[in-house]
């Protein structure tokens, strides 16, 4: 069974600084998707970034970028120039491409605080 681990339950970063959230996953599959979702205090789940496993190039989305290491099964999220609005729970998620009946697997989340 696939699992997703986020080893940092909580992290903090100074405003305008850079922070990296870690995510590792366990799978025997080679074709899958990885995602980072953000859940601010408003409770809304927001997609931050998506990575296809077959793509070697790391995905980027404005201040958000990932470091995808397929062999190591690692998928970290880097937030540059942190802003107060980045404070939220961040969830890493995995989805195998092969079977519609398989679900998304979410990690336990990392709570990010941004200090002014």
């Amino acid at each position: 069974a696939q699992t997703v681990t986020q080893s940092q339950p909580e992290m903090s970063v100074q405003e305008a600084e850079t922070v990296t959230l870690s995510c590792t996953y366990d799978t025997s599959e080679s074709d899958y998707y990885l995602f980072w979702y953000k859940q601010p205090p408003s409770r809304q789940m927001i997609l931050v970034i998506r990575q296809e496993a077959y793509k070697q190039q790391n995905a980027t989305e404005n201040r958000f970028s990932v470091n995808f290491q397929k062999a190591a099964k690692s998928f970290s999220l880097k937030i540059s120039d942190s802003q107060l609005g980045d404070a939220a729970m961040y969830f890493c998620a995995y989805r195998w491409r092969g079977n519609y009946g398989q679900n998304f697997v979410f990690g336990p989340g990392t709570r990010l605080s941004v200090l002014p």
């Binding site: 998707y33 995602f35 979702y37 859940q39 408003s42 409770r43 809304q44 789940m45 927001i46 997609l47 998506r50 729970m89 969830f91 989805r95 491409r97 519609y100 009946g101 398989q102 679900n103 998304f104 979410f106 336990p108 989340g109």
Partner: protein, 112 residues
């Protein structure tokens, strides 16, 4: 222009009652989901429908029954509510089961 909407956003009810949570998406997606988020923020999938057909049915009590009248709606009905059902329930949708999901605002259910 709400993409995925849920009603109600808050629901307080007593043990033993039956309640429903409605979900609608206007994104034209084929797949819809229900998740439960517990007090520790852990997200667990409950059900998934693709083109109105159930494709994921995780181990949840049969007091929980999803109903998909059409591709744009996936409602969750809960019978005989228990204290342990208190949680935030999220509806989500995706273009197909492989693509990223778009979440509704969540429904905070409190059972007293």
């Amino acid at each position: 222009d709400t993409a995925v909407s849920q009603t109600p956003k808050y629901l307080v009810t007593q043990m033993g009652n039956d309640k429903s949570i409605k979900c609608e998406q206007n994104l034209g997606h084929d797949t819809m989901y229900w998740y439960k988020q517990d007090s520790k923020k852990f997200l667990k999938i409950m059900f998934s429908y693709n083109n109105k057909e159930l494709i994921i049915n995780e181990t949840v009590p049969n007091r929980f029954s999803p109903k998909s009248p059409d591709k744009a709606h996936l409602n969750l009905h809960i019978n005989s509510l228990e204290l342990g059902d208190s949680a935030v329930y999220f509806c989500a949708s995706s273009f197909n089961p492989l693509y990223e999901q778009y979440f509704g605002p969540g429904t905070r259910l409190t059972v007293t």
